[in-house]
Amino acid sequence: MPKISFRGGSAIAFLLFLFVLWELLVRLTKTPMWLLPAPSAILTEAAAGFGDFYGHLLSTIFLALLGLVVGCGIGLLTAIFLYRLPKVNEMLYPLVILSQNIPTIVLAPLLIIWFGFGLLPKLIVISLVCFFPIVVASMDGFRQTAPELKHYLNMAGATDKQIFWKLEFPHALPSIFSGLKISATYSVMGAVISEWLGAKQGIGVYMTLAQSSFRVDRVFVAIFFIMLLSVLLFGVIRMIEKLAVKGRKAGNR
């Protein structure tokens, strides 16, 4: 435990160092505000504008979380479905991979044409982004089940269903959580991208407005909050992982 907090500590120290460097460079070169604001200016803007920003932030959090839950839920169900039905898997898995080759930025306007400006197209964008890491990670987790444990269950007379729910699924939990962590960070990105395409509020909207009026400081405020949100989501999922994955401390599976 102390080792982890120390590592986190050194990361924060390094980040602070970068901010100081940034601040110094901006001041020394007298870079204009509209080109690159100093960290202090960004912080001031974040504090001053938080009243306006707050609504956008909440809206994005809501969208990202909802998309994450829907995307991961569908992803996990898909993985279980494909794993339990190898024939279907053979047919559909390549399509799952292909689905990731559609550029979101191209797909999103189409979704708006089809589904309007409501919640649905946005959810589809975020789910599509979150879905893939979960499917791949879960499938890999299911496949990597320890063969000696599977052999034991077979000898003990377990049915395929029992083998899945008593062995393969819990065995894959660490993998599933790895996928979840990636999806969580993607979900915030997905939410922001979907908001660019047309929304009343959200960090994406705030960013577009800031960009078009050359408020680079506000763009950075948005960037920092997106990062903060991703890190927070990541942390929350790691906490849930620690509660859910038992008996497998580091280095001992």
Binding site: E148, L149, H151, Y152, L153, N154, M155, A156, G157, A158, T159, Q162, K166, L167, P170, H171, L173, V245, K246, G247, R248, K249, N252, R253
Partner: protein, 246 residues
Amino acid sequence: MSLAIHQLHKSFGERPVLEDINLQVENGEFVAILGPSGSGKSTLFQLIGGLVLPESGTIELNGEAVNGKKGLIGYMPQTPSLFPWRTVLENVVLAAELKEKPDYQEARRLLQKAGLADYENAYPNELSGGMKQRVSFIRALLSNQDVLCLDEPFSALDEFTKLTMQKWLLSIWEANRKSILFITHSIDEALFLADRVYIFSKRPAHIKAEIKVPFSRPRDENLLETTEFFQLKQQIFKYLKEEISE
């Protein structure tokens, strides 16, 4: 008779693995199968466990043919194969759980007898090798089957732990008297534990000899130093020598 195997043949593709295996395990009898590594002993267990089908021959449990039927034996594998996310208590009831609601009271009683009462809520990664094997054996016991198949369960343990575990196994078995079929490649282990020993040849395996072990029970480690034990060991060693020279 609880387990009887008649004229069992099994091959994988062109290669025969088991040839004309005939063996019996009486009710409450401890039978060992002694043979070189890779002689098809584990294949025999897969046949008994119903995972694979024989080319010919029958496997009978309590007089009923059970070829290809799963879930009728208690099984203890070579590696403990405990589930890392389950506590010791949750692990020992696993085999029983596959069929019915497990009897936690009985599980606790057996854990206590095995000296594992304090570890009931521990995870397997906190246990030593010997403790894991105890948990694994209790899991097989709790599966509530008449016949237990033990596949070289102590082969990975050091000599000291092994002897402790063998004595422990005997003490538990004497209290329960299940029928046990025990695979091993150690002559000492077979003679120390079993009532009867079947000696397997190398692949394709057939039964070279069947030896009655005359030593009275309960047995302890002093038996290992007696002349009778040594003579019997020599006799078995002769069969093994034939296997090497052939």
